[in-house]
């Protein structure tokens, strides 16, 4: 017991004596001097006494603060400024490095602690990440390049142009292949991160030549995106297309990963945009992404057993070389036309592996899950051959590339007028075997009887619905039905479902607008049929009760036994009250969470209600219009 207590004292002792520790070391020496010079010792004593206790305290706190962030969250993070100092890089080089290496700031759990007690918001990186960056060989490349560029600049300012040129020809190239492998350990990882890559590459592929963007990058993006589109066509991987006001969303599926990207509408490049964005940053991104996309393309071609770089079917290599040796543009055009299938590399195809029949497992426990998977499989299988046998001709005004891509992904043959694109046209407009012609203008002069003239939306809607929709709604000049997002089901379950979507899923559902108007309704001026009731009567099951009348009539007879009718409103009220009481029993820990969840629910409900209301208004307006039109017709007929 005593020993323990003494040890505690020893432990405690240093903190108050922290500052006097050197003094205690001095003491023996002074003691030896004491005999020679006692005055000095006195002075020392005085000094020791005169040191205020506050100083001890301050010293001890300083000591403490040094120790404070040696471990834990305070030691785990590093600010950007410190990181720059550590890596000896400028901010711009650091940015490039971060983009290429995929390093990003982290949000700490306790910001105050992570910032070592500093207030405000600092950009914090994980110290481990920065240490990881320190080992990156491209840092040296970046530095080397910087030096090289300085040399060129110097040579130029010295008017030593030959030297400048020589330097310019040997600027070090920064290789990032190993980083691709490092960031995406597996091919699946790369596919998972392809969304931004494709969107950005497609955007760059459509950019005009600009001073700030290296032209070879634009060409590379164009080449790679075309290659990607070719492989999507070859593997029939397209799942959804959605034309939004922002652009066209495509969703493909490779190896079970869905990849969604956005391609802008025919790109009207606005120089104003350039003032709002920093092309340098984007260029760094595109440099990385283009390399990544190249490798992904290579792997995809490899999987599909296709030649990379793509070679077109029907053209042997020699043929191509002989024919197009001096005319490379034409070759690239042929690739860009997207309507010639690619040549496969060998006889045995891994591509055939896709066509595996799913086995049936009747013993499976999750019958529902298995059923769903099977249904989905059937659906996609159906989708792959959706447009098989169709020969489609594109009119001049429709966006060619997008439609060729979508149509060929589902097995159609496509051709177009030679005047819009120089590539290969399989057949001309006067070909009788054409089944569909895509038109996006209100009327057309010369029409063939043997084919349907449809608007482009028919293709997208059919693809999303996984079946060929009736073409009548999409004929030339017909107002189009709404184009619905195929992605909406990926949102919350509690959402507004427009009637069109319901109709698409459930064939028995009849759209309000499709209900024909009765002739009798037309004649009845005053009592316009309540459109809302026609819809709502399925949801509200309340039938007006007029039992009292019956009673009066059948006064004398034996009364029929009345069925017990539960007081619904009271029941509802009771339930509500019970629920209210139950809510009050929620544990305190979850009370706020519950409250915020309920608030969210209420907000969503409100939104749904608003949309329903707007729909009803719209339907009423449409009904009135329709009625007025019919009435006018009726009057005209009578006259």
């Amino acid at each position: 017991m005593t020993h323990q207590s003494s040890s505690i004292i020893i432990e405690r002792a240093p903190s108050p004596a922290g500052s006097s520790a050197p003094a205690s070391q001095l003491l023996p020496r002074l003691g030896s001097r004491k005999q020679t010079d006692p005055a000095q010792n006195e002075i020392f004593k005085e000094k020791q006494q005169s040191t205020p206790p506050a100083r001890h305290a301050r010293n001890s706190t300083v000591h403490k603060s040094d120790e404070k962030y040696q471990s834990g969250e305070g030691a785990r993070y590093i600010t950007r400024k410190a990181a720059l100092r550590k890596l000896q890089l400028t901010l711009r080089d650091f940015r490039t490095l971060c983009i290429v290496k995929g390093i990003y700031p982290r949000e700490p759990k306790h910001r105050r602690r992570a910032q070592q007690g500093k207030t405000g918001i600092q950009t914090l990186y994980l110290k481990k990440d920065i240490q990881f960056l320190m080992h990156e060989p491209i840092i040296w490349k970046i530095r080397e390049k910087k030096v090289h560029l300085k040399r060129i600049k110097r040579a130029r300012s010295m008017k030593d142009y030959s030297m400048a040129k020589r330097y310019a020809s040997t600027v070090p190239v920064i290789e990032i292949d190993h980083i691709i492998k490092e960031r995406y350990p597996t091919f699946i990882d790369a596919l998972r991160d392809l969304d931004d890559c494709l969107t950005l590459c497609f955007m760059f592929a459509a950019l005009p030549r600009r001073k700030t963007i290296p032209s070879y990058l634009i060409a590379l993006c164009r080449r790679l995106t075309l290659e990607f589109m070719h492989v999507v066509i070859a593997s029939r991987a397209l799942r959804h297309v959605f034309v939004s006001i922002k652009g066209i969303y495509y969703q493909v599926e490779f190896r079970g990963q869905t990849i969604t990207w956005l391609v802008s509408h025919n790109f009207g490049f606005d120089p104003r945009d350039a003032s709002e964005v920093d092309f340098r940053t984007m260029t760094t991104f595109v440099e990385f992404y283009s390399t990544m996309l190249g490798f992904v393309n290579f792997r995809l071609y490899h999987i599909m057993n296709l030649n990379y770089p793509p070679q077109l079917q029907g053209y042997t290599t020699e043929e191509l070389e002989n024919e197009l040796i001096d005319d490379r543009v034409s070759l690239s055009d042929r690739v860009a036309a997207l309507n010639i299938p690619l040549r496969s590399a060998g006889v045995s195809g891994e591509a055939a592996a896709d066509e595996i029949e799913l086995d049936q497992f009747p013993m499976s426990e999750d019958a529902e899950v298995a059923d769903e998977a099977r249904q989905k499989y059937e659906e996609t299988k159906n989708l792959k051959t959706l447009f098989n046998g169709m020969r489609v001709f594109l009119n001049r005004e429709v966006p060619r590339e997008m439609l060729v891509f979508v149509l060929r992904c589902c097995g159609a043959e496509v051709s177009w007028d030679t005047s819009i694109f120089p590539g290969e046209c399989l057949f001309n407009e006067d070909d009788e075997s054409i089944t569909h012609q895509i038109v996006d203008r209100p009327s057309i002069d010369k029409q063939y009887i043997s084919r349907y003239y449809v608007q482009p939306q028919w293709i997208f809607d059919s693809l999303n619905a996984r079946k060929l929709l009736p073409v009548e709604k999409y004929f030339i000049g017909v107002p189009l039905p709404p184009h619905l997002s195929p992605f909406s089901h990926e949102y919350r379950t509690h959402r507004y479902v427009p009637p069109e979507e319901k109709a698409l899923k459930d064939d028995s559902y009849v759209l309000k607008e499709d209900i024909p108007i009765d002739e009798t309704d037309l004649l009845d001026e005053d009592e316009s049929p309540n459109v809302d009731d026609m819809i709502d009567n399925e949801s509200d099951g309340e039938v007006p009760v007029d039992t009292e009348k019956n009673e009066k009539v059948q006064n004398m007879e034996v009364k029929k036994g009345e069925t017990y009718r539960a007081n619904k409103s009271k029941e509802r009220k009771d339930y509500k009250q019970m629920h209210q009481l139950k809510e009050k029993m929620i544990r305190r820990k979850y009370r706020n969470l519950y409250k915020s969840m309920m608030q969210g629910c209420r907000g969503r409900e409100k939104e749904i209600k608003l949309l329903k209301y707007k729909r009803r208004l719209h339907e009423r307006r449409r009904f009135e219009e329709k009625k007025a039109a019919m009435k006018a017709q009726h009057v005209a007929a009578l006259m």
Binding site: K145, V173, F242, G268, D273, R280, H302, E397, L581
Partner: protein, 729 residues
């Protein structure tokens, strides 16, 4: 760049001597200016170089030198000055004789002549005499000369000598020719026939007087060796032509792709980022983003106005774009913010801090506690079946006789009323002459006695209802006066005095009056019906007084004030007294006369409490809306805190037989709850709120003031500020 010394073929040298025009002169320097420029291609993956488009350079013309390498005979020549320039100069020299060497009248040398501005002379002649300035500075002389002298226009002043020199016609012509950038010599023929000195025609006579050296006829062996070497190097690929080099460079810059991943899902081991958080994917678009959305998604005027109003705070918008409807695909314009959105995404990817956030996948219903349905917990009062009306002011207190036949209520109208429960009939009304704050029926079934707290008086009243024998017996008990066999201490006397009743009072039913020194807040009986206790909140240490009916004796249990006593309660089985002060509940052992336990409520102000018939569970109602359930075996902290009411809880009550408890509050509601206590000590009590009853009308911020259960039936009575009592069955 030193073109002074050069190597040219001899024939070329002669050529140039004969033809001193401008163009060949430039060729002398081995450069041509800007005609052949080449756009350098830069490594464009870094942007820091100056704009590559502006890089134009003078390209050295080396092919001439390479052509010369083959020829054998070389002559060095020095041509420091163009020949053409010297011809007119000589002529000038002859005419005017102003050359420095020949006739230099001024000996000052080549100095700026303005040094002599302040002197009368210009310099010195050969004899060392001053050359004086002529006095022609005179403006008039100058004017006259200009007017009269026909040669004035071609008179020039020689600054060196100060003399006027008249230029000759030849000079003037020369100047004119130079001005017109013609060849100064008028006699020179530009178009003279070309004399081809070195032709392929073999001449009879050698040009030079000595024969050619043998070397000139034999190819150079050394050079041939060099050429051979180069050819070999080219053939073997050691050396590359410029074109090849450029192609190679281009190819090198072109990215080469290969099979980076051998397999789909097998990762190589290498150092990677620690704890990588992949960037979240973008949200997929909904119907509203369609180019042709359903009509309900389009904004109406109100929504559009709201959207525009949020221009300053765009993050508050429900949609970040305005839905549009286009009749056809052709009409859809490019999206204005497309590039900006991509850029923002890029910024997000490398600048936005990432953290893992757990997302809840539960529905709000999952957070509700799993409680049994109230249907399974019946019986409990749920329907209002009787309303007792008759009081004229709010009813603060209620009590039921132990058998459960009669109800007694005390009101602010200074009366108490006795009601028959089954019929709702008022049996008796007794005026007590004070606001009745508390009333309680004696639990002893052999006595018909009610303790009523009216202001400072405590009345023991025989209501005279029920079993007539009991009533009579009670009366007889109180008729006989007891002699005080013990001395009442002064301290107690100062607090309470027992007082016999007058005749009139006896007739109304009052049997005894106990006068207190402060207003009585509450009165409560001990389970056996002999003792009762009163509470005066403002009494300090004398706020609790315990009385004994049989001996008419009172005592003050506490010596020290324990705070504002709110209410007290006798334990139904054991000799314990519960005293609720403002913030906590103390339990005293009456036998040992010591504090047994102190319950922490963590509430601001206790209003009431009730104890379960088992005696182990206690509910405390507080003015801060809470109800606290204490399990006395478990802990001194509340087992459960119930926040069922929206306002102060006024009263709580336990049913004696059913697992029910009730609470009433100022928010106008009475809540019946199921409170099951199990005999098994390991099982916690089950608490389920069952029913909320809201019938009392609010009156001056008060609504329901008291609630009480029927002793045998699952019925509940509530009294309110609206002067009614309601029975729920």
């Amino acid at each position: 760049m030193n073109p002074r010394k050069r190597k040219v073929q001899p024939e070329k040298d002669i050529e140039e001597k004969n033809d001193p025009a401008d163009e060949p002169e430039e060729n002398l320097f081995g450069y041509i200016s800007g005609n052949e420029s080449d756009e350098l291609e830069w490594e464009t993956d870094d942007e820091s170089t100056a704009s590559p488009m502006s890089k134009k350079e003078i390209k050295p013309q080396k092919h001439k030198a390479s052509k010369e390498a083959g020829s054998s005979s070389e002559v060095t020549a020095d041509s420091s000055l163009p020949e053409a320039a010297s011809v007119p100069y000589t002529e000038y020299e002859d005419e005017f004789d102003t050359s420095d060497e020949e006739d230099l009248r001024n000996t000052v040398g080549n100095i700026p002549m303005n040094w002599y501005d302040d002197y009368p002379h210009l310099g010195y002649d050969w004899d060392g005499k001053q050359i004086l300035k002529s006095n022609s500075d005179d403006q008039i002389d100058y004017f006259l000369k200009r007017m009269e002298d026909p040669d004035f226009w071609k008179t020039v002043r020689d600054r060196q000598t100060g003399a006027d020199v008249v230029l000759s016609d030849k000079d003037v012509e020369l100047i004119h020719r130079i001005e017109a950038s013609k060849i100064p010599d008028a006699t020179f023929n530009d178009y003279a026939p070309w004399i081809d000195w070195f032709t392929n025609e073999v001449m009879k006579m050698p040009l030079r007087k000595f024969p050619e050296h043998k070397r000139s006829f034999l190819p150079s062996r050394i050079e041939a060796k060099q050429v051979n070497k180069m050819c070999h190097a080219l053939r073997m690929g050691y050396m590359k032509t410029k074109k090849q080099k450029a192609e190679e460079r281009l190819k090198k810059r072109e990215k080469q792709f290969y099979l980076l991943w051998e397999k789909d899902d097998v990762a190589d081991k290498m150092r990677r980022i620690h704890d990588y958080i992949p960037a979240p994917k973008r949200h997929l678009p909904g119907h509203a983003e369609s180019y042709n959305p359903p009509a309900e998604y389009l904004f109406n005027n109100k929504e559009l106005r709201e959207w525009n109003k949020q221009a300053e705070t765009p993050w508050k918008r429900k949609l970040h774009f305005i839905p549009e409807k286009h009749a056809s695909l052709l009409d859809v314009p490019a999206y204005r913010d497309f590039m900006k959105e991509r850029f923002t995404r890029c910024l997000d990817l490398y600048l936005c801090p990432r953290a893992r956030k757990m997302r809840l996948t539960i529905e709000p219903e999952d957070l509700l506690p799993k409680l049994p349905s109230p249907r399974d917990l019946q019986p409990f009062p749920s329907v209002m079946s009787l309303v007792f009306t008759g009081h004229t002011d709010m009813i603060r207190c209620l009590s039921i006789d132990p058998i459960g036949q009669y109800l007694i209520s005390g009101s602010d109208d200074m009366t108490i009323k006795v009601w028959e429960i089954n019929t709702g009939r008022c049996m008796r009304t007794i005026n007590v002459g004070g606001v009745v704050r508390s009333i309680e029926w004696c639990p002893n079934k052999a006595l018909s006695l009610v303790a009523v707290a009216a202001d400072r008086k405590l009345l023991l009243i025989n209501p005279g209802v029920g079993d007539i024998l009991v009533v009579k017996k009670t009366d007889s008990l109180f008729k006989e006066t007891l002699e005080q066999t013990f001395a009442v201490s002064e301290k107690v006397k100062a607090v309470v005095q027992w007082e016999n009743t007058s005749e009139e009072e006896w007739d109304t039913g009052i049997r005894f009056i106990v006068n207190h020194f402060k207003e009585i807040k509450q009165v409560t009986w001990h389970g056996r019906g002999d003792y009762f206790a009163t509470v005066m909140s403002e009494g300090g240490n004398r706020s609790v007084v315990i009385h004994q009916v049989s001996t008419r004796h009172s005592q003050i249990p506490f010596a020290k004030p324990k705070g504002l006593v709110q209410c007290i309660l006798f334990h139904p089985v054991r000799p314990f007294l519960f005293v609720a002060t403002q913030k906590n509940v103390r339990i005293y052992d009456l036998v040992k006369q010591e504090l047994f336990k102190k319950l922490q409520t963590y509430a601001q102000w206790i209003s009431s409490m009730a104890i379960h018939s088992g005696g182990d569970n206690l509910i405390v109602g507080t003015y801060d809306r809470k109800m606290l359930w204490f399990d006395l075996d478990l802990s001194t902290d509340p087992y459960k805190t119930l926040r069922l009411h929206r306002n102060a809880v006024r009263a709580v009550a336990f049913h004696k037989r059913y697992p029910l408890f009730a609470s009433c509050s100022d928010d106008g509601s009475t809540i019946i709850s199921h409170g099951m206590v199990y005999n098994d000590l390991l099982q916690n009590p089950l608490i389920v709120p069952l029913k909320m009853l809201r019938d009392h009308q609010p009156h001056n911020d008060f609504s329901v003031l008291n609630v009480i259960f029927h002793p045998n039936q699952p019925w509940v009575f509530s009294s309110g500020a609206d002067a009614t009592i309601r029975l729920y069955t």
